[in-house]
Symmetry: C2
Subunit: 345 residues, 2 copies
């Protein structure tokens, strides 16, 4: 029914060709130690001669390893995600693992379904990138001792192995930078409300304001959903406010780009009239004009670290689960400047 069973070369063919038994071939293939070097040689030569390729399904079914890692991402349109995947992929490739990619579109049901499917045979480990509702399965993953690592999720549990940036501290730094530049009216474009990282960034913003005795202005906080268009819309709203902001801190670069669009559409200049600061440092933030001043998350590196953690859990189930925080420095480029001198009212 599959339309393609044209004499696939199996382990049996190899056994026959090499004149050894079935299981000896398996041993050779799996790099067993105690095999007669001569036979080993014969097997390998038969393998190349016949062009044999293992059937992963069979191998895994029989209790072997699939060398497949599942990666769940919310979507693919976002460069932020692309960068993380790039890191994951690099690390996986050099460890000879394959990548099964799932896009959840932030639907909780898909997320859970995928996790189940993956843990039931397909994958040896799981990588979860900003999961929407890990609570639904993290606990069971944990008690089933299925290896997994969460990337960029402000855990609400304390057992999920995680690699994450210092969202709060980075937001504090960024806000402080703006304040010390002389800004007092600082707009904030909030990320997706239910994501821990968004909440932490907001917390950093708000608390820093207070630390500097700058009254928190609710009308200066708008929603950008971590996307460019919503960021644009949010900024338009910000510019309508009486006594509008002289600087805008966007929760990610994408919404910062949206902010740039709105500001320019208004005929204002960056950073002359308004300063803009982002978060993530996706590749295009360096090439956009003016260069975006932003908080760098080492995205690809975070992916690599996650893989490294995951593989160590797979190889050694006893390996203690870790939570790794990566540094998120402020990258100063050209989109922020002191506020323009107040044209007095």
């Amino acid at each position: 029914m599959n339309g393609k069973r044209p004499a696939r070369v199996t382990i049996k063919d190899i056994a026959h060709e090499a004149g050894v038994s079935y299981s000896t071939v398996s041993r050779v293939l799996n790099h067993y130690e105690h095999v007669n070097p001569v036979k080993r040689q014969r097997v390998w030569s038969a393998v190349t001669r016949l062009g044999y390729v293992v059937n992963q399904q069979a191998r895994s079914l029989a209790g072997g390893h699939t060398r497949i890692i599942g990666l769940l991402v919310p979507e693919l349109g976002n460069p932020y995600i692309g960068e993380v995947i790039r890191g994951v992929d690099e690390a996986l490739a050099s460890a000879q693992y394959d990548l099964l990619l799932y896009t959840t579109h932030r639907q909780k049901t898909r997320e859970s379904t995928f996790v189940k499917a993956l843990t039931h045979g397909m994958a040896e480990g799981l990588l979860l990138l900003v999961p929407t509702e890990p609570q639904a399965y993290a606990e069971s993953l944990c008690q089933e001792e299925f290896p997994y690592v969460v990337i960029d999720h402000q855990g609400f549990d304390d057992y999920s192995p995680t690699v994450i940036g210092k969202n709060y501290e980075a937001a504090v730094n960024a806000t402080r930078y703006l304040i010390e530049l002389g800004h007092r009216r600082i707009g904030f474009i909030h990320g997706l409300r239910h994501l821990g990282s968004a909440i932490e960034r907001f917390r950093g913003y708000r608390q820093t304001l207070e630390a500097y005795n700058i009254p928190f202005a609710p009308e200066l906080v708008v929603d950008g959903d971590f996307l460019q268009w919503p960021g644009y819309l949010a900024t338009k709203q910000l510019l309508e406010v009486a006594d509008p902001p002289t600087a805008i801190f966007a929760s990610n670069d994408l919404s910062a780009f949206g902010a740039m669009d709105a500001v320019r559409e208004r005929g204002l200049t960056i950073p002359g009239d308004i300063s803009i600061l982002g978060f993530d440092d996706i590749p295009q933030s360096a090439s956009v004009r003016p260069g975006l001043t932003t908080v760098r998350q080492p995205l690809a590196e975070m992916g690599q670290i996650a893989v490294r953690m995951l593989l160590s859990y797979i190889e050694n189930p006893q390996h203690p689960r870790e939570r790794i925080e990566v540094n998120t420095p402020l990258i100063i480029r050209d989109s922020c400047a002191p506020p323009a001198p107040r044209r007095k009212a």
Copy 2:
């Protein structure tokens, strides 16, 4: 040895729980028609009660379907590729297929290895994005009747199902646009030399020049490898030429960005001093300043089309293989203008 075999629920457990036979469960699971509705009901309820999840390995090994599609891409850093993947992923998700992603890093050996592995059990179909050396396996895929579709590869064979943009025509259009704007010295940043699409674009450029009786100037053609940094380097070289170009046609947007960097570094303005035209229309080309005038390839759509083709081949092996050419219109934004009046020598 896998460290996680905690009483996985199998089809047998379901059979037992539902009080039916082994294969009846399989029939229900695979939506067979002739099953007693009562039993069918009992099976489903057992499935949910016990939280059963099929084991894809076993299913596929037994001749069933994996519902997995393999996608081979050269790398992940490129937004162009990200867009295609996005389209692929969307189409696959709505058809309930999963995506196994392989990054070849343009290494021919990896490419062939992956193709073999994928066709030997893992996947039901294959998508090849700008493959480096499809000759190595396309023929065998074809005669094994393994379903596959090539995306954006100027085939050198006439049997591989393909979805591709009109590279030659688009390049003609773009070049003509520049010429009609008044440009005579038009630089060309060449893409990866061994890729058919790069060659076609160059052909379009060159022939259009000739059609307008503009002498072809070899010193105006430089290599950009489809990347930003090489594009930057190439452009620096272009600007050194005696009688430098007043416009630059880059083989893709990424190298066009590199060109922008080089031009600006030189203190020149775009499009005032030099016009720049790209190819692809990746998302950031619209948001960069000035907006990049470029040839649009409907990347995500190409991915979707490829999936649609592939699935139809999988479902019906007799389905005739097609070659689909998508339109690649010129998107006019702000990076091109008539050449500055000649400051006479």
